[in-house]
């Protein structure tokens, strides 16, 4: 029924969005989600169309232009037909809707447009290295005065954590990148624990700092994007550890409430280096799902 992990991801992100609106009084505007989805799909379509290999050879440098609508499609086989990869931009749009807040539609449009464009513009060895939603968030935080992220919006209810963990677990099992989440959360928790110990805070302070819904969302749905993170496990572990360390520094030394997003953004290009050092096969959906070619879940 759900053909690949991206379908699960779409379902869960939509669920979180509805949950947030229903239970968390978010001032989420439907038109904002509409703009995020519309612009993401449109930009994806535009780039895919522009870079489509109309000659029929399978493009080697654009994984997004494959036929996802055909469950029996084998991406290695010649394909003339242009079809839109709608899952990936939809996931990006949902991720942006969950995490990014702005007063103006055009800011969301800019975030969504730049997020998708980054997939086509920033890539090396046929692989993009920025997580699109993360790129979109950082872009509008930097370029506009009109965007912000609300890390406190989920509160710290334990049942949210369980839902996130459950949903994230299902997706990650299918994607096979649980090691990244584990490493990120584990090393971040350890760093915070050491700090807590040094400062002499009671342990509920530590627990409170970790039980943030936004942090879990990030760890389970953004830092795990299998297409933009390193291919080999050792590389992924180093990469996730580096993000945790940078997040820790930015949050505690520079008091940045958006520390995780900056950390991922800054560490993302390291993927290229790590992939060179550990030459492991790139993530391909078809290894797990013969009926479906690859792409990139991302939050």
């Amino acid at each position: 029924m759900l053909k690949d992990a991206r379908d699960h991801q779409i379902v869960f992100l939509t669920l979180f969005l509805l949950l947030g609106v229903a239970m968390r009084d978010w001032s989420l505007r439907p038109e904002m989600v509409g703009v995020a989805v519309g612009v993401s799909l449109a930009v994806q379509a535009g780039f895919s169309w522009a870079t489509h290999d109309w000659s029929g050879r399978k493009s080697s440098n654009c994984p997004d232009r494959q036929d996802f609508s055909n469950p029996n499609h084998n991406p290695q086989i010649t394909n003339h037909k242009f079809t839109l990869n709608w899952r990936s931009p939809l996931i990006t749009a949902l991720g942006l809707s969950l995490l990014l807040r702005t007063d103006h539609l055009w800011t969301m449009a800019l975030a969504a447009g730049l997020a998708i464009a980054s997939k086509f513009l920033f890539k090396a060895n046929h692989k993009h290295f920025f997580n699109p939603a993360n790129f979109g968030i950082i872009a509008v935080l930097t370029l506009t005065q009109d965007a912000w992220v609300s890390p406190g919006q989920w509160g710290e209810e334990i049942w949210y954590a369980l839902i996130f963990l459950g949903a994230g677990g299902i997706v990650l099992r299918r994607v096979g990148r649980w090691d990244t989440t584990g490493m990120f959360l584990g090393s971040y928790a350890l760093l915070e624990a050491l700090r807590n110990l040094y400062l002499g805070w009671s342990w509920d302070v530590w627990a409170h700092r970790l039980s943030s819904g936004s942090l879990l969302l990030f760890a389970l749905f953004m830092v795990t994007d299998p297409r933009s993170i390193p291919n080999a496990r050792p590389a992924r572990l180093i990469w996730a550890g580096a993000i945790a360390l940078l997040t820790f520094i930015l949050r505690n030394q520079f008091y940045l409430s958006t520390a995780v997003f900056w950390a991922l953004f800054a560490i993302a290009p390291l993927t290229l280096v790590l992939d060179k050092i550990w030459a492991a096969p790139r993530f391909e959906w078809r290894k797990r799902f013969s009926f479906e070619p690859n792409t990139l879940p991302q939050a």
Binding site: W148, G152, G155, E156, L199, W201, S202, D204, V205, Y255
Partner: protein, 460 residues
Amino acid sequence: MMNHSVSDHLKLKFFPFLGLLLFCLVSFAMPAWAFCGFYVAKADTSLYNRASQVAIARDGDRTVLTMANDYQGEVADFAMVVPVPVVLQEDQVKVADPTILDRLDAFSAPRLVEYFDENPCAPRPYPEMFRLESEAPVAADGGTSASNQALGVTVESSFSVGEYDILILSARESDGLQTWLRENDYRIPDGASSLLQPYIRQGMKFFVAKVNLQEFDQQGFQSLRPLQMSYESPRFMLPIRLGMINAESEQDLVVYLLSRNGRTELTNYRAVPIPSDANIPLFVKDEFNDFYTDMFQRSYEREGKNVAFLEYAWNMGNCDPCSADPLTPEELSQAGVFWTRPGEWPSVFISRLHVRYTRNKFPEDLMFQETSNQQQFQGRYVLTHAYLGPTSCPAGEAYRRQLPQRFEQEAQSLARLTGWNINDIRRQLPQIDSVRTEQPRFEAEATDSWWQSLWSLLSL
């Protein structure tokens, strides 16, 4: 239903707010607790459960923090300790206008709005402007001495401002600081040391204020004035842990966050808008304080006691309805708004957060961030006076027929918001029967069946 007026607005007076921020302590006498830490009052447990008020004006890394001082014990017994991110010099600390926090409070307080239904049969007049009411409470007293240094404690600066003697301390170890404070006649409770340590290790300094009695007497003020400090630091936080060393009761804190661009948010706790825009029965006008405190308590419990409540978020250039006149540029400056330019009305957005906290639900200090969110919000409760006079048209009849249902809805929303007994509420609703007896003609028509109405139209 047009004529309206703002009656009454909610003041903090029903949470008599206590001094402030952080770690208040006092020389001599016995410790009591407030947001800031502990007051020492003479076994006066009435100091518990007070609300503290803080205003923070911030733009970039520049911060002006104003702490209300409503200490109510002996002035001589007052002192307070506030962790601050940097060493403050004399020109960074001043005494603020005693009424400025009350002005912020009055401007941003949850408000009761009153509307009057028109005679449904009369032509509608143009709506009147809101009538305003406001009031203003005051702060209190306190005061004593401090001393030298030892035990790894350094007096970074020492100066007097108004009726206060101020010390800025840095310390290497919390035990040393605790001992130093005790040696200098600050009676601080056991357990303070372990809570001072995290602040010391984060490199924070300690702002220690006590009252210079001679100066206090000369100034002739009845109560201590707010202290205001200006500093530059990327840290945007408010320490609340010190005030909870052994406090078991709930403490209220109202923070007025003033920014240039938009709402200021909490980043490590969820903030929930207080229920607003509810239509409630008229009698609440005389019980608005009870209404709001009960509604707040109920919302607090419903949300699990671990969230902050947003009571107001508004551009300070206007208000609608206003519970007090907008602050003038001079008053905004007094409140710490430093980005004003002469002759210009500064752009200021206020976010009012009301935090009721306890040790187990708020383990961490409050962290904030400024956003560009301009979405406005206010705690607003609506009273609508029904038109109970005679009417002479079918619309009037229809109007009157829907009144019982409307009153019932108002009663139910009041019960839902406050937890008050619905039957007690119903007993206080307006009596519509008395209206009916005044208007027998329409009463009769109201009971007509539709076919009788039709026949009467056809003169049958």
